[in-house]
């Protein structure tokens, strides 16, 4: 017999997204800090305005960082950036998962509610 999706499936998926996202990002930050030290021999915090994360919006920054790591640029600053991107994308992904879930279970009002949350977040992340 084919089992229908239940709310417990959504809860399970969300909890995996959250825990995996946070663990992976904290691991990257730790590796990033260590490699920052091994390259620069110092742990000074860099607050120069030109070292602020920004660029042309969140998604394009994320794209360039991920592209950089794919072509093998594993500089400390990029590892730290990747960790932060991963951390920010973690709650975002659980909203995406919920939109999918409520669409599959045809719960129209919650499709709209979750889509509203997703739209606002996406718009806010696109602004630069």
């Amino acid at each position: 017999m084919k089992r229908k999706f239940g709310e417990e499936d959504l809860d399970l998926v969300i909890s995996y997204i959250l825990i995996l996202g946070v663990l992976a990002s904290l691991a990257l930050e730790t590796i990033g800090i260590i490699s920052y030290y091994s390259v620069n021999r110092t742990l000074t915090i860099n607050l120069q305005p030109n070292s602020a994360l920004s660029g042309a919006g969140f998604f394009s920054y994320a794209g360039s960082i991920i592209h950089g790591t794919l072509v093998g640029v594993w500089a400390p600053f990029e590892i730290l950036g990747l960790g932060i991107i991963l951390l920010m994308i973690t709650p975002y992904m659980r909203v995406v998962a919920s939109v999918v879930y409520f669409s599959l279970t045809k719960n129209t009002k919650y499709v709209f509610i979750t889509l509203f949350v997703l739209t606002i977040l996406t718009a806010s992340l696109l602004v630069h």
Binding site: S15, T44, A52, S124
Partner: protein, 273 residues
């Protein structure tokens, strides 16, 4: 970075013990160490995603968190957070110190624990809350039974959460105690559902605020990385020792810390140019 790491571990630990959350402690202390307040707020916003999502994961799996209520309320908190973070990006830092002190002052209100009801009884649900499917059940381990509950006043809870989101986005904190008060006093959630749902909402609210700080160029990885790692380690260990400490110790700790933080923020506000 090492200093920030140590500060964040301690802040995360004390934040978990007192229920203040890491951000409210971390920001005043970092400012005391000379970090510009806006940078501290921006980095704290991202840090909060880690501390809240980490603990939210297990409560969602145990099905104590009410995911639907969370999504409904998040519609309001994220709008509030975006407005709040935008305000912070533009106003003079001096105002932020005073807002921070004022917000800490409201947290004393949470000390009057008699307002809390572990399991609200006989909640008469209104039509809107029913339409939103705001009700459910969870298994309460301490009580050893399944708890059924219904929420009410969803219409009123929304704007309340927008204010909570505004404060969170503006000051780079979770504003968890504030959210919990709204959940319990207005929506009539049971205590455990309320605190775990608030934790879940904080992650998304922090993301909304963080997106604004990201765009404003206030965000620095070498500051945020040690904060995120430290605060999470601190919060996890704080959660572990919480049950072993007597309530009286926790209350004194709370009083001392909040008073010290208020004095620190007022001092910064008065001496800043």
């Amino acid at each position: 970075m090492l200093t920030v790491l140590v500060i964040s571990i301690i802040a995360g630990l004390l934040g978990a013990l007192t229920g203040l959350g890491g951000g409210s402690i971390m920001i005043p202390v970092l400012v005391g160490f000379g970090v510009p307040v806006k940078y501290a707020i921006a980095a704290s916003m991202v840090t909060i995603i880690a501390t809240s999502s980490g603990s939210a994961a297990s409560y969602v799996r145990e099905r104590i968190t009410h995911v639907k209520a969370a999504f409904y309320l998040e519609m309001f908190t994220i709008v509030g957070a975006i407005i709040g973070a935008t305000i912070t990006s533009y106003i003079a830092p001096r105002f932020l110190y005073f807002f921070f002190a004022a917000f800490l002052l409201t947290s004393f209100y949470g000390l009057s624990g008699h307002l809390r009801q572990e399991f609200p009884k006989r909640v008469k649900q209104d039509r809107f809350s029913k339409w939103l499917e705001l009700g459910g059940s969870y298994y309460d381990q301490a009580a050893g039974r399944k708890v059924n509950y219904k929420m009410k006043n969803a219409l009123l809870g929304g704007p309340g959460m927008m204010v909570a989101g505004l404060a969170a986005g503006m000051l780079g904190i979770g504003a968890g105690a504030f959210k919990v008060s709204i959940h319990e006093l207005i929506l009539k959630m049971p205590a455990k559902v309320s605190s775990t749902t608030s934790n879940f909402i904080i992650g998304i609210t922090a993301l909304a605020g963080a997106s604004v700080y990201f765009a404003s160029g206030l965000f620095f990885v070498t500051l945020a990385a040690p904060m995120a790692v430290g605060a999470t380690v601190g919060a996890l260990s704080g959660g572990r020792i919480l049950n072993r400490l007597p309530n009286r110790t926790i209350r004194y700790l709370f009083l001392i810390i909040v008073t010290a933080l208020i004095v620190q923020m007022l001092y910064e506000g008065l001496t800043s140019p």
